[in-house]
Amino acid sequence: MTSQENGPMPIVQAQALSKWYGQVIGLNGFALRVMPGITGIVGPNGSGKSTFFKLVLGLIKPNVGSITVLGKVPWKNADLHSSIGFCPDYESLPADSTGREYLTLIGKLHMMHGTDLSKRIQETVRLVEMDKAIDRKTGGYSKGMKQRMKIAGALLHDPKLLILDEPLSGTDPLVRKDIIDLIKRLNMDHGHDIIVSSHVLFEIERMTHSVALVYRGRAVASGDISEIRNLMDRHPHNIIIEGEGITALAKILLGQDYVVSVAFNDSKDSVTVQVSKPDVFFNGLPALIDQARCSVSKMYSLDDNLEAVFRYLVGR
């Protein structure tokens, strides 16, 4: 995500940004440049994604460092909210209001009124496919409907920048696909710049190739997703294999150039294999098992959670 000196201006630029709540550190020396388009912010729960968004929105002020959004400092800058739409990861819809009442309030807070507001509400709910449920109380919406209505609220005033905090969280696979498609459409067809967060890398991968990894309050890596994948591939991946005749397989594995180490666990029926290229390992494993004439009863990766990947990236 490094930009040319004369290239497009970053929409968000954070430098040495730190934010702490009492003794809890939210962000620590956080540095990131977000360029126009769709950018994914990926990190495990509690990594600092939401704190970063609150700083972007000016809901909290940094203790140290600086942040600019669309070239302006966000803290106490209400005018900036005309250009930003925010879909939070928590329940924020007033349960006793209908979707239309909620959107009308949002619209009026953005100085929209009359027929212009009514028309815009119709356009927006059609875009998020909520036109049939607009007059129902939001308290009765499903999780997916609530997410769509929150996105409608963020979109209503047609902002330049959309911030979507975990928009896929808690939704079923079908809704997930719809929301991913919607996010892509909002960028490609409607020209919104979007920053979207998730703790699942492959979900972000389906929306964008531009990603920042956030871990323990820091942006530990940012750039094209393929660069991040290469970065991940440079760090050994631990896989445990269990079964009969594993000793023979271990001997063969030691001869492969992508295997860093092989170590037996508590018994000779279980080994931990460290590999540098997991994709090559998994593709070639069936042939190696045949060659070793062993039987594998169980195989699992110790690194299949994002937390482990982040630990690699920060060298812990």
Binding site: L59, A78, D96, L109, M111, H113, G153
Partner: protein, 252 residues
Amino acid sequence: MELKRVLVGIQALTFHSTKKLLFGKKAIITVLVAIFVAAVMGYAGSVTNDPLNDGTNLMDTLILFFFMPVMAMVFGSSLIRDEIDDKSITHVATAPLDRAFSYLGYYLPLGIATAISMFAISTVGWLAFFGQHGMGSDELGLYLEFVALVVIGSFVYSSLFLAISVLFNKPILIGLFYAFIWEGYIGSLPGAIQNASVKHYLRSLGSAWVNFGDISRWDQASSAWSSALVLLGVTIFFLVLGAYLFREKELA
């Protein structure tokens, strides 16, 4: 353009929050208080031999003295705090409206909702008591004077309790302390200490207006003009303090 944006924003918030306060879960408290006041004043009205003086004393002690600060506390201590806690304040905090003006968009509906609620309670109490004795010009005048007092009280107490709700994380505890201990106890002590309560100045205004009951003969009343100025000053002070605190507040 800027002024229009501010006015439209305040109007939208006022409409939304007034509706929420009057027709939300807290409406049941207004109904229960109104039933209680109707029962107490209805019974008192049935056994009194001096309706004008006894009715005035009840309107004074039960409604103005006791329920006025309590109802303002019930509505005011939680309006902003509840939205901060359940995070539904997000749509206000991310609107292009300076937080100081958003605060006004909370104060106005709070004052309006409290005033409507107290108006309803006062009306029910007055009807329950004086309905049994015939309602002439004295009774009607008394009613209007107390309605004016509770409307003024609603806006003064609202500014105070709304500021408390921004200042403290547990505003209901501070609100309870203020409403019951400070207003209820300190405000009724003899001597100058009672001047440190809103109730003293509200009753002082009432003392100048009302011609019946103990309030009309209250010898510790401050002058009507100075009371009005103090109430206005208190309202503006807490309004400005609350708006400043809300503007500076981090909504984590």
